[in-house]
Structure formats: structure tokens, C-alpha cells
Amino acid sequence: MTSPQAKPLVEISDLHLSYTMQRATIQASRGASLTIAPGEAVGLVGESGSGKSTLARALLGLNDPKSTRIDSGSIFVDGTDVTRFGERDWRVLRGSSLSMVFQDPLSFLNPVMRIDRQIVEAIPKSMRAEGVSERVDDLLRLVKLPQAARRSYPHELSGGMRQRVLLAMALASKPKLLVADEPTTALDVTTQAEIMDLLGELRQRLGMAMLLISHDLGLVSKACERIYVMYAGRTVEWGPGSSILKTPAHPYTKGLFDSARALRLPNGLFATIGGDVPNLAHKIEGCPFRMRCPLAMPKCTTMSPATQVLGQDGHWVRCWAAQDSGIAPAQGNDVKNA
């Protein structure tokens, strides 16, 4: 399904993007690269503040055009460079090829508009010939929402139902790519599983590609074929989910795994990654992870790590310490305590 030769649906190369906020310039992307093949499920993992959401929004042109600037790099969607797109061009693309669902389904729904109206809006003009009401029926069935939800307002639905409404809206245009930005973070665990199952099922059925953004490596590795790990605005490791799961090469990825598994250290504390994500308003020399990295060496302070391939299956990493690619998951990973 995902042959590397297939023409990618999305190709982001070495993207540098910054936005201004209260006079500070935040460099949210500092060399992010990512490709998604048609129909492929790709995960994007990283801590809060690593620039995942900004990257996802850049893919749909949803960052505020007044304050956001693409400094260098390119984003190709379906073979077209969208980095110079105006709002009008974006509108066409968003209403057809690209869709997005968001983290907090309540705040992302209009509180004073009924569900059916909000879904109808998302149906492109070209698909309205067959009857709008029937199309809404189909979409509700697709996301397994009862017909009774049609006339509801967002606050009358449960969190899981709201996320299904967002999903129905996103699917209304039959998109080629669905970007899901932490779609289950605001939900409780059982609802989380339901939504993830639904996402997987819909993707299979509709043959669309998906970019799943999450801080939860476990969740992403279950749902996605390939995974990108992002740190401080750059992609630091990517490859097939199985390979990353088995042999994480970047110390940051390993740290994420240990935190996700709630690994207990000999002293009884949970494994965490010490320190914080660097402030993206500042310039960073060398590797951005070196301040928190257990394997940091002098080279890391001065030189940005080169990208290198590990093995045959398209597993890449940006780390000096992973050069020998011989690091086993548990070794050399004396995780600091925060």
C-alpha cells in the first residue's frame, strides 16, 4: 500500500516557519520534513510545544496569514507547491482535498448553530446535487451518530459525539487527506478507543490518507504505518512504526517511549525526560535536544546532526550519537529524573 515510489500526496521538505506573537518571533518549524503517500496513515509525535500543530496547520494554510511566514522550504500537496498560496487558493484545497479534525471538539464547534447546519456547510457545492439532507444522513451513519443528533446543539452532545460531528464535517468533502490534531486528547479512555477504531475503519473504507498528531507514541504506533518524531520544530526520527517501536534510534524517541510505558526506575520514580522543550523564540546552535540528552557530546553543541538512514526500511534519524546505529533500546538511556 505504501510503496516509496508512489507519488506522495504531501511532501514537506526542510520547512522553516515562524510567527510573531507579542513582538517575539517564534520559529515553530526549523527543518521539518514529512511525506505522506496516498492512502497512508502517518503519525506525528512530540511533546507540547514541539511544533506539531503548527506544522499540521501549515499543511492546510490555517495559521494566521498575518503573523505567520514561511521562511524557507516547501510544502507540496498533490504536486502543487502551496507555500505561496493565498486564502482563496487555500479555500479550494480545504474544501476538497484536505480536511482537519481538532483536539477539543466543543470549542471547535459553533455553539449557537445546530449540528446539521454545521455539517451541511462542509459539503462542497459540487456534491450537493444528490440532495443535502441525504448526504448529511450518509455522513452521520458513516461516523455512527444517531439521526437524533441532527437537530442538537454542540453542548447537548457528549465529547465522543462531538468528535464524531467534527469527523463528519471533515469527511463531507471526501478528502484525500485527513489531518487529525490530537483528536482524542480531550476524551476519556473508552471514548478514545472508540474514536481511534472509527478513524481506522473510515480510513480503510474511504481509502484516504491520514496524518495523526499526538503526544502519545503508543496510540500513534497502533494506528499508523509510519511515524515521525518531532522535537523543537524539526523532525528528528522517522520510519515504519514497527521499526521505530523496536529500535528507536534517537535518545528523545527512547525517552518518549519510557515515559509512555510509565517505566519505573530503580529508585521508584517514573521515567521522564528531564528539562523542558527549548523556547522556540531563541536561536539554537547544534542539536536542540543536547541539553536534555543523556548521550550528548561536544560535537552536539556546535553542529546540527546530519540525517542518516538506518537499515533498509526507510528508518531515518538525526542524531550524532545514533551514528553507529548499534544502540539497543534500553542501553545508554539512563533517564534523568525531573
Partner: protein, 326 residues
Amino acid sequence: MWQYFLKRVFWSIVTIFVIIIVNFVLIKLVPGDPVHAMIGDFPAPQDYIDQLRRDFGLDQPLHVQLWLYLGNLAQGNFGFSFANRQPVLDLILGRTVNTLILILPAIVFSAIIGIALSLAAASRGGGFDITVSAITLFGYSIPVFWLGQVLVLIFAIVLGVLPTSGMYSLRAPQSGFGAFLDLLRHMVLPLACIMAFKIAVFSRTARASILGVLNSDFVMTARAKGLSRGYTLWRHVLPNAVIPVIAVFGYQFGHALTSSLLVETVFAWPGVGQLFVTAVGQRDFPVLQGILLLSTILVVVANVLADLLYTIVDPRIRRSLGARHA
């Protein structure tokens, strides 16, 4: 939900009752004797003064006067105007209608224009937004009586296109469409005076509210759906942005009644504001009390209506009321 409104109405009545008492006491505290004001400087015999006091119940202790006043109110008797020698209610009702003719259109049009302006400013941004902000700041700070006189000077005296004051011309038709046109011509300047401030208030409130809504997450959803900016403003931003503006509605009604004191004085508009100013000069206490009571009722009713409007516009409020009182 109906239970909520019954409750709301009950508390409104309590509010009105309390204000009646406060007004009564306040007016009694005002220095100056109504009997003296009525007789004037003319030297009257003490017997005559005492008889007048008895006739109007002014010789009774305060609480008895209050009790009498409340009893009369309950029977729809608002008292008798010393100065106008006419029942207060008849006097006030006619004048109140004249004031409402001015105030209601002023508030409704100001709200529509103010919201439209700030919506246009939000969608255009840049220079247009700054211009609108500057104009509203002007309307916000300019004194109404000064604006009124300048308008009269320009439009009535220099250009001569509009009447200087009053509500009707003597030579205009007494009824039908001609009379209506005549009324409109008289309304233009006082309306402009009240609206200059009201438009500013509504557009400033709406602007703040629109800017807040524009940053909401669901506006990003609308963008992600590929909707146009104009449609998003109209269907998503506006319905959410008017909710806080409605809260201003009830309050602005009370404020408009107050500003009618000035506007009606400047334009000799025969409304309740002008009557109030005259009554103060004449120490015509029953009229003052009557006007205060009527304004109180109007303001309270306006606020209840604003609350009702709230529940129509915002389904979340409707639901929380339904849940609590179902």
C-alpha cells in the same frame, strides 16, 4: 424555562417596589417646600397654606404619606400635579409616548448600525477599522447638548432644511402621511444626537465581542471547511458576537431615558424628559415621582426583555434554564 421567567418577573416587581420607596424618601429629602413653590412669592395667609398642606396630605408624618402614596398607586392613582393641575398619570403617559417615539428607534437603529459598522471593520481591518474606531470615539465623548446645538445651527439655521425644535409644525397636515412626514422631519436632529452616542456604545461593545469570537476555535473550523470569510463572519461570528451586545441593550434603554432629559430640552421635544426638567423647577413632586416610577418600570421591563432575547439567541442558556427548572 417559564418558571425562570416567573421568577424573573417576581423579582422585577420587588425591584420596582423598592425603587418606589427609595424615590419617595429621596424626594422628601429634597430641600424646598412644594406648597411655597405652588403659591410662589405671593404673600399668602397661613390658614390658606395649612389648608393646602392638609388637602395634599403634606401635614401627615412621612410613613403615613408613603402608605397613602402606595395605596393610591395600587388604585392607579399617581397623584395630582400641583403645577399642571392635572392628574399625573394623564400627564405622563402622553409625554412618555413622545419620548418612546424618539428612544426606541434610536436604540434599534443604533444597535443595527453599530453592529454592522464593527462587523465591516472586522472584515476589512486596517484603515477602515481605525476610521470606525476614531468616529465612534468621537461619538462617545461628544456632549449631547453641544452636538444638538451645533446640529441645529447647521441644519436648521444655516441650511434651513430641518426644523429647529418641537415635534410638529403648526402648518403641517394634522393627520395621515403628511403628518407622519412632518414628525420624521422633526425627529431627525434629536435622533441623530441620541444615536451619535448609542452607535458608539454598540459598535465598541460589538467590536470587542467580534474580535473575541474571531479568535475562537470554531472560526478555524469554518476556515478548515473552506468557507469564505464573508460567510464565516455572517453565519459564525455574528450570531456569537451579538450575545454580549444584548446585555448592553437593557442598560442602554435606561441611559437613553436619561439622555432624553438633555435632548428634549435642547430640541423642545414634548417628552417625559422635558416634563421632568420642568417639574424639578416647579418642585412638582408627584410628577417627579410618577416619572421616576414609570422610567423604573420601563427599564426593568427592557431588562427582562433583554433576558428573554438572550435565551432566544443562545441555546446554551435555554438549555441550562430548561435543565434547572424542568
